[in-house]
Symmetry: C2
Subunit: 185 residues, 2 copies
């Protein structure tokens, strides 16, 4: 932030306002304090008869890598609406019943993933504009080395472990930079 979005002044400094304890972008011309806060990424782990739906990214970052349908929640949406919208936009799939499945903080990039689990009623899906292709994978065929983000690895890990026990539960977790190297399967 170089200019105040409220008054246009360039008298912006990143310092701690009175009665606060964290630095903010403060306008010393009009007094406005510009807060910046974490973003929510909402998405769906979709299954169909034991297979998992993955999308190959047609956009950066991680162009060409596989992910689950997920993206930034928009203003005036509910979490479920955001997850269903992303599922439609990226995988042209429609889901109804969602189970809250994983909530993952990623403090290094100030994001919180809220992921739902849902079973597709039918194997109907297609690549949306942000996907190169969309495909159902048997667990043994998951392209672990080509997954887009650590949080996707984490979510698929949960799914396979829960599936083994037959008990699906809501997970809450954090991804730290050091956890980006994961050994699995």
């Amino acid at each position: 932030m170089k200019y105040c979005s409220s008054c246009g002044s360039d008298q912006i400094e990143f310092n701690i306002p009175k009665e606060d304890n964290l630095p903010r972008y403060c306008c010393h011309h009009c007094g406005m304090i510009h807060y910046q806060n974490p973003n929510i990424v909402a998405g769906c782990l979709l299954t169909f008869k034991g297979q998992i739906l993955l999308c190959r990214r047609a956009i950066e970052p991680r162009y060409g890598c596989w992910t689950i349908p997920a993206g930034f929640m928009e203003n005036h949406e509910t979490l479920e609406q955001a997850a269903k919208r992303e599922t439609w936009e990226e995988a042209k799939a429609v889901v109804n019943e969602l189970m809250l499945y994983a909530i993952v903080s990623i403090p290094a990039i100030s994001q919180v993933y809220v992921l739902f689990k849902a079973e597709l009623a039918q194997a109907i899906y297609a690549a949306g504009s942000e996907s190169l292709e969309v495909q159902l994978f048997e667990p043994k065929a998951i392209p672990w080395d080509e997954l887009a983000f650590p949080v996707i690895i984490r979510c698929l890990d949960y799914y396979l472990k829960d599936r083994a026990t037959g008990k699906f539960q809501t997970h809450i977790d954090t991804i730290y930079p050091s956890s980006q190297t994961v050994i699995h399967h």
Copy 2:
């Protein structure tokens, strides 16, 4: 947003960028698109031997009303860190083990509440700078008509119902404007 925070231009228009489907604040001078997304409010429902901790707000909105310790999650925090920090700032209470308890979308104001449940090890608490007073309430003494926000009513409702069954689970819910009038207890 009246001025571009990147270039200072006043050529800001709220319209739909190419390859998007929602209006954004777009700078027609430098091309920057300024996204605005929901904020996360993290907090704790604290209990001590069946009593519930509430804080009376020393700030607007809802000055003088009762709430649970909760506030905006900051960049570079985890959800748990945010909830514990708010609990310390507003109620000077320290909690360790947190249970993910309620995730509530409030689309009308683009907020998502992520609330944890925790049992205080001891009845040690005090009013922080944003609280007039902090107090433990027996369920029958909860000041329902003086609670600050519908989401607080919702969360306390969950707690009392779960307590009656003895089974505490994670709740996911939405608060719509029409649900602001709640009849209870």
